[in-house]
């Protein structure tokens, strides 16, 4: 497993010092070896989890984090960059999954990626800020420190055909939609390609987390996407706990799993409701809304917050939950199952509904593999990519559960995955409830300097966190890679050649959060 990989790496690159640290292969690479090593990991089906850039007063470092898909294990490739030159070869020609990471780092750290196919207008929009303004660099304290540039921004046009034009949708559009701009390129009836312009909602969570205490930065992790507070919060907590070398009680691990599944249940109900709404099936949408409200109420009744804020804490949970309360919550969730099944049955028998979601927004297995998509989006295209199974963590490492997989990669396949995962979540909650350990819900983790990587399977897919702590417990670097950031990268694949009226449907079935992407 990890030791076999290590031996192979040592035989190919004997001059590099490879070591294993806390489940990760770690190595400092010379700049020119990066592409070859990354190519090796890609060929072995390792996925690029994230790229972490860190800049201190005199040093600039890039950390490429890969994870294996065949067995547990991570790899962290570290490159020390010259802080004056700031240039490195782009990984995008080797693996397309690096594309958006590099565009982001170019904007926020002014690192130059040579041979990157398309840099420019990304996190910091070109009509407000100068290119590669470097918001995350240490000398930038407020927005006023950034080089401002007011120039007209025009969407890029790719289509050369006669009569082709770009139709902009957003950033303010539709009833209660999240703010994002979509550029639909068309020659008339059909949209040929759609490009999203995101980051209107960029709140710079990574920047404002710096200098906050570990406990206060958790509030940011939870609110990066309020609809998956546990998912992203858990990845953050696990990263901090690794940095502190803390071992949690078995009860707190089990309860975290319970809450994560409760959140998945409610989140998937929301996604299903949005799919019903997008097809204008109002009775189904109303029934899904009602079911969603019931899940919200169950959550609120159990922990005092409908979106499960304030449940997690560094070292466990903020407070304990009595076994009977958890069992009551499980019973109520279980009692809603027949109603969810009835909705599913009725949807599957509505040919007008199926006509609208079948064979729309297709992302095939190959594309899901290439773009390294995550979550239900990837699972509908026959790629498991479930962190609970690929890189198991407590309490899932000791549990048996199914990861639902579909083949077609269209809107209907994604809907089926959502329903199947809801069923599985209730089953996992029941399994966790069956034997709850009684060894306390929180340990007092002593603060110390450290760094750690954490991950979890959030409702929309793999969420990753990299945390660096000072000795007094303040956060000096928090890098979060939420699932929507990965999946928006595959958005344009799903939106090649479709009819205008299908746009909301494609968007709803993809289950993407703008807030989570924009951070």
């Amino acid at each position: 497993m990890l030791s076999d990989v290590l031996n192979v790496l040592r035989s190919i690159w004997p001059s590099i010092e490879w070591r294993v640290d806390d489940g990760s292969i770690v190595a400092v690479l010379p700049r020119e070896d990066l592409r070859a090593v990354a190519k090796y990991f890609s060929a072995q089906r390792w996925r690029l989890g994230t790229i972490v850039a860190t800049e201190g007063r005199h040093e600039l470092e890039l950390r490429y984090c890969f994870y294996a898909t065949a067995h547990p294990g991570w790899a962290q490739l570290i490159i020390a960059l010259n802080p004056v030159d700031r240039t490195i070869a782009s990984l995008t020609p080797v693996t397309i999954a690096a594309d958006w990471f590099e565009r982001e780092i170019e904007d926020l750290f002014s690192v130059r990626f040579a041979q990157h196919p398309r840099l420019g207008d990304f996190v910091l929009h070109d009509d407000q800020w100068a290119e590669n303004a470097g918001l995350m660099r240490p000398f930038v304290q407020s927005g006023e420190d950034l080089p401002v540039q007011r120039r007209e921004w025009r969407p890029k046009r790719v289509l050369e055909e006669e009569g082709a034009f770009v139709m902009p949708v957003g950033p303010v559009y539709s009833g209660g939609a999240e703010s994002a701009l979509f550029l639909l390129e068309t020659v008339g009836e059909d949209v040929v390609r759609a490009t999203p312009r995101l980051f209107y909602k960029y709140r710079a969570i990574e920047k404002i987390a710096q200098g906050r205490t570990a406990a206060d930065a958790l509030l940011l992790a939870e609110r990066c996407a309020g609809t998956s507070a546990i998912g992203n919060g858990l990845a953050y907590c696990r990263a901090v706990e690794r940095a502190l070398g803390a071992t949690l009680t078995r009860r707190s691990e089990a309860l975290r799993g319970f809450f994560a599944e409760l959140e998945r249940l409610r989140h998937h109900m929301t996604s299903i409701r949005e799919i019903c709404e997008s097809t204008s099936l109002s009775v189904a949408a109303s029934q899904a809304l009602w079911l969603e409200e019931q899940f919200l109420r169950i959550s609120g009744e159990l922990c005092g917050h409908r979106y499960l804020f304030g449940v997690l804490a560094i070292g466990g949970l903020q407070r304990d939950f009595a076994d009977p309360a958890l069992e009551a919550c499980l019973r109520k969730a279980d009692a809603l199952r027949p109603k969810v099944d009835a909705l599913r049955g009725a949807l599957e028998r509505s040919s007008s509904f199926l006509d609208r979601i079948e064979r729309v927004g297709i992302v095939d297995r190959e594309a899901a593999q290439t773009f390294e998509l995550v979550g239900p989006f990837a699972r509908a295209a026959a790629i498991s990519a479930d962190m609970r199974a690929v890189q198991p963590y407590a309490p899932y490492s000791g549990l048996e559960f199914n990861v639902p997989i579909e083949e077609e990669g269209d809107g209907y396949a994604r809907l089926r995955v959502l329903f199947a995962e809801m069923e599985e979540s209730v089953r996992i909650m029941a399994a966790l409830c069956r034997d709850l350990p009684a060894d306390g819900t929180r340990i007092d983790a002593a603060m110390r300097a450290g760094r750690g990587l954490g991950w979890s399977e959030a409702p929309r897919g793999a969420s990753l966190a990299w945390v660096e702590l000072e000795a007094d417990g303040t956060v000096s670097r928090y890098r979060l890679t939420p699932p929507s950031f990965r999946n928006w990268h595959g958005f344009h694949v799903a939106t090649e050649s479709f009819a205008f009226q299908d746009f909301p449907i494609v968007l709803a079935t993809l289950d993407l959060s703008v807030a989570e992407n924009d951070r």
Partner: protein, 231 residues
């Protein structure tokens, strides 16, 4: 079975008037001023607050509800209120009586995390049925009477927010929903976020909460059109 019959058979799912004290399934509640036995204890409770919503003065811990982000750290000690009337200020300049029976609302997402928007989506569902009050969500600011802002107003959304406000016909009102729109919440004011909707557009009424429960938002909208007092 057709969807039509399926809908009819579900019956009426909208619930009656909101109870005076909301259970936690409907609302997390809001902290309220609490008296403690010693000044030291009060100071300890106030120090738990990460956003400065709690302030200790002698033995009493006062609350600025706009800043509360529901971190729950004070909940074991501080008293929390469980009513529905969260909107303020009390004296809101109402629309004329012609608006009393119906208003149209345009929602603007200025950097929301998604939970306020999700609660807003619930408003039109069968459980809350906002339409029964004659209040409707409209997709265009040109037909809107009320601009409902969620999120701390990020730098890159400040422009579109102002454009939407300008596009609305007069008379118009702005409702800031949630801790972020009320005060910047956990995100602002900071390098990329303003300190709430008031930094970009004139705000008439504010609903605190992270996120505010649907019933509190309904209360604020009804207050805006003069159907009931805000608090």
């Amino acid at each position: 079975m057709s969807w039509f019959w399926r809908g009819l058979r579900a019956g009426v799912l909208t619930e009656g008037p909101a109870p005076e004290a909301l259970p936690e399934s409907l609302s997390p509640g809001l902290p309220r001023a609490t008296e403690f036995s010693t000044p030291a204890q009060a100071a300890e409770i106030a120090a738990r607050c990460p956003t400065g919503a709690l302030e200790a003065q002698d033995r009493v811990v006062g609350v600025q509800p706009d800043r509360c982000v529901d971190c729950m750290r004070c909940k074991s000690a501080q008293e929390w209120r469980h009513d529905v009337r969260w909107a303020h200020p009390d004296a809101v300049e109402r629309f004329g009586s012609r608006f009393k029976h119906s208003i149209h609302v345009r929602i603007i997402d200025a950097g929301d995390c998604g939970s306020c928007l999700n609660e807003l989506a619930q408003l039109t569902g069968p459980s809350y049925n906002l339409h029964r009050f004659g209040i409707f969500i409209t997709p265009t600011p040109r037909q809107a009477d009320v601009l409902l802002v969620v999120g701390p107003v990020t730098r890159q959304m400040a422009g579109p927010l102002k454009v939407a406000y300008e596009a609305m016909p007069s008379p118009k009102r702005v409702l800031a929903v949630g801790a972020c729109a009320a005060s910047g919440g956990i995100f602002g004011p900071s390098v990329m976020s303003a300190g709430g909707a008031a930094d970009a557009v004139p705000v008439d009424l504010t609903v605190p909460g992270c996120p505010p429960p649907p019933l509190a938002i309904i209360g604020a909208l009804r207050a805006l059109c003069g159907q009931e007092p805000p608090a």
